[in-house]
Amino acid sequence: MTTILQDAAAWILQKSSPQADLLVEIFASRTRQFEIEIRDQQVDNMRQADEQGLGIRVFKRGSMGFSFTTDFSPQALETCLQTAIFGANVTNPEEHWGLPAPASEYPQLSLWDKEINTISIEQKRKLALELETAARGYDQRVAITESSAYSDWQQEIVIANSLGINTGFRASGCLLSIYIVAREQDDNQTGFSFQQERRFTALNPQRTGQEAARQAVAMLGAQKIPTCQVPVIFDPLVGASFLGVLAPAFSAESVFKGKSFLATKLATSINSKITLVDDRTYQPGMAAAPFDAEGVVGRRNVLIQDGLLQTWLHNTVSGRRQATASSGNAVRSSFRATPEIGTSNFFLLPGPDDQATLVGSISRGLLINEVMGMHSVNTISGDFSVGAAGHWIENGEKQFPVRGIMIAGNLLELMQNIESIGSDTRFMGGKGSPSLLIGRLTVAGE
């Protein structure tokens, strides 16, 4: 039995097959989402979405055209195909454009929670309520819920191309997230926590709610500090945010276009303490899939091995350009986009010490729990300057909370200055990091 997506893809391939000079690829997806948001133990919002669409990529004499549609009627699919073919007339030919051939087999991954459609709205509402109760009940100073939410998603993806790729998979996930405000007289501080899982039964609202509350309460009385240059520890989620802005530098496309600050560092040692991996088959990560956005087999790529920068991330075209294979790193933001190069599950291998041990090793420094303005990081030069909040450390102990400061530096120097990697890995989407101790960073304050 085939799905709507498979039928649409097959129809397009069949329509285009008489034109021998065309290479055609269809990327189709159907995504269903549910969300329930609670505030003060009342349901604020409930939301369900059902979206399907497909994008057709066409190669004609080495030029690429692309068109997408959400309408799967024969007329609309025909128009979409013709528009993509017409688009190929405007773009310039590129000798390395093309499509991948099929794989002999794809990894078997378990990404779909078959219980997801049996869980009632009532059960989901209950979880969101418990999440809020756990946070508000942690301390009487936790005064306001910005949002306490449960959400889940299911997705089906189908990729088919005229070289014989015809594959698909299903995945699902669920998420608890909570933003609260702790208040003491005129002082308001925010706290945030989340939990992402494949299986509904793995969600833990008590632990997640309390974590958000603990964070906010710990920030009460936050002060500014004078400008200084000190050792800094990144909390795992801050580390994960930094991995997010580091990722583009590993793209073979960025390197080729002179847009990567790592370009001259291949086969050199960055920092022997670091092993950095991109692994689409790593199931605990939310970006796991059997294949990438072109249908190339998903796999583990070790980008940095004990400090040695070994390889870039490739898709089909970048691989051909550098006479190597795709590394299975084609990604698309949605069916509306053409495949670019990107990470899947992208994480640092952990070290031996927990965060408390790292904190204990610092005589004067900062633990950063939160950053602001990460989208302004210059991923090409690697320069960053972002707002931050956290705790001042003196004599191996957290002394008082700090906010309204900025940390600045360069991403390459940041990697070079990592002195210790913690054991406490956390994932945010597909990015995973433990606590990181950086030897020295400029902190701008008063």
Binding site: R39, D44, N45, M46, R47, Q48, A49, D50, E51, Q52, M64, G65, F66, S67, F68, T69, T70, D71, A76, F86, G87, A88, V90, T91, N92, A143, I144, E146, V181, N188, Q189, T190, C228, Q229, K257, G258, K259, F261, R336, T338, G373, H375, S376, N378, I380, S381, D383, S385, V386, G387, R403, G404, I405, M406, I407, A408, G409, T442, A444, E446
Partner: protein
């Protein structure tokens, strides 16, 4: 395309078990994007998307369903999803539906669907050449052009039917300059509510925009590191309006106020800024990126004064926040697409120009930094802390513009920074952007005159500087 009768059917289905309010929002969006990289048009994307968003409000709860299945069966299913989330009451009779005409026209002269792909290609190639020609240290130029025609139709249980067509066109140029092992980037963008005429409004506009991006990248190669710490800051009018968008725009959205998560929440009628500062949000401005005829709940766009000579006088409301506050919506209920729920959003937000001469403001400043271009930013509305990036800036030394600096992001606290504005210029510079909130982005414009701010924290790397 879906017809009004189809939406009426959907609305009837939604209200079959009762409810306080319902609306059905249909969106049909077509867009084109062209990307020029390495001197040639590499990529072309065209897309068509349509879908419907259904909302049902009962008491304090709202339920939403979104789908792009637009058949009658699909509409009935989508309506059923929201209808079934509440325990039914009796069906609501709809009043007769009547069309609400717009109050003003945002004109479009050259619709993007009347301009050929090859004309658009020529434009971006022109931008590419202009940027590259400036200097041999320019290594990469990426020019991307995008146009959208978004048609929306909305019906609600008050009997209102509104239609809006938003046409937006933009161009963005990213330049990479390199010298030895140093790489730096420059960026410039141009766009608004309108068609291809935006790109042709003056013969040199596109070329000059591209050259600005290139010049910025080159300047960063030799710029010195920005200082770190507290110091006077002049934000030039041409720098764009990111500061006001972050410093108070989000904090004045009524949902943040209502939930107790805005630092401005309990400051109505109080002085929240210097008396030199007045802040307005205006969706009616011709040609501006954040403009529209109706918001995404069918309310007319309008001009709303938020801060009048330093005093907080207004918030930005959508239907639901207005209803709960006993006020009228200010026409700021916006959504990224049919897949998102409307929430209070900014349109075009700006600080009114004052009377000071911008050149005199610089001359009178002994030391500090001059920001000529801001990038994006972010804010924590609870504490009021915000950051924004600086794309082009210089040290000011004894009233003269000194060396260029790089690597600075500025941070401040909204009410504190606005109170520290000591001089306001008589100019006004707009920038365009996409504002993100709750996982959805909407096009916005923002603007400010040249401002002198007594002190802000500059997040440079150079901690030794004073």
């Amino acid at each position: 395309m879906v017809q009004r009768e189809d939406l009426e059917f959907c609305l009837h289905q939604t209200l079959m078990k009762g409810g306080d309010f319902a609306d059905v929002y249909y969106e049909h969006r077509q867009g084109n994007m062209l990307v020029c990289e390495r001197g040639q048009v590499e990529r072309q994307l065209t897309g068509l998307e349509q879908g419907v968003g259904v909302r049902l409000v009962n008491g304090g709860t709202a339920a939403y369903a979104f789908s792009n299945n637009l058949s009658r069966t699909g509409m009935a299913e989508t309506a059923a999803v929201v209808r079934e989330t509440f325990n039914g009451r009796n069906r609501v009779e709809l009043p007769p539906i009547s069309l609400v005409p717009p109050r003003y026209q945002l004109t479009v002269e050259k619709r993007p669907d009347t301009v050929s792909l090859s004309q658009k290609s020529k434009l971006i190639l022109l931008a590419d050449t202009a940027a590259r020609e400036i200097d041999s240290r320019i290594r990469q130029v990426t020019v991307s052009y995008a146009d959208t025609i978004q048609k929306v139709m909305l019906l609600n249980s008050d009997g209102e039917w509104t239609e809006d067509e938003r046409v937006r066109t933009r161009l963005a140029i990213n330049v990479v300059a390199a010298e030895g092992s140093k790489i730096q980037t420059g960026y410039e963008s141009l766009g608004g509510f309108g068609g291809f005429e935006i790109m042709e409004s003056s013969a040199r506009l596109v070329a000059d925009t591209a050259r600005n991006a290139a010049r910025r990248a080159l300047q960063m190669l030799t710029a010195r590191s920005a200082p770190a710490g507290l110091m006077p800051v002049i934000l030039a009018g041409e720098a764009g309006g990111t500061m006001i968008h972050e410093a108070c725009g989000h904090g004045l959205e009524a949902d943040h106020v209502e939930h107790g998560i805005s630092v401005y929440g309990d400051m109505m009628e109080q002085m929240v800024a210097s008396p030199l500062i007045s802040v307005v949000d205006d969706a009616t401005l011709a040609g501006r990126y954040g403009s529209y005829h109706f918001d995404d709940e069918g309310i007319h766009g309008q001009s709303t004064v938020l801060i009048e000579q330093g005093r907080l006088v207004g918030f930005l409301y959508d239907r639901m926040t207005a209803r709960r506050a006993g006020r009228q919506s200010t026409g700021n209920g916006r959504r990224e697409s049919y897949q998102h729920r409307p929430v209070p959003r900014m349109s075009n937000t700006f600080i009114r120009p004052g009377t000071d001469d911008p050149a005199a403001i610089i001359k009178d400043t002994r030391q500090g930094i001059l920001v000529k271009r801001m990038g994006g930013g972010q804010v924590n509305t609870v504490t009021g802390d915000f950051v924004f990036e600086v794309a082009e800036a210089y040290l000011i030394e004894n009233g003269e513009i000194g060396p260029a600096i790089k690597g600075a992001t500025l941070t401040g606290n909204g009410p504190e920074v606005l109170k520290r504005v000591e001089r306001v210029g008589n100019d006004l510079g707009f920038s365009i952007g996409t504002c993100g909130k709750e996982g959805q982005g909407v096009p916005v414009g923002d603007a400010q005159p040249t401002l002198y701010i007594r002190e802000m924290v500059v997040g440079g790397v150079d901690a030794a500087a004073e």
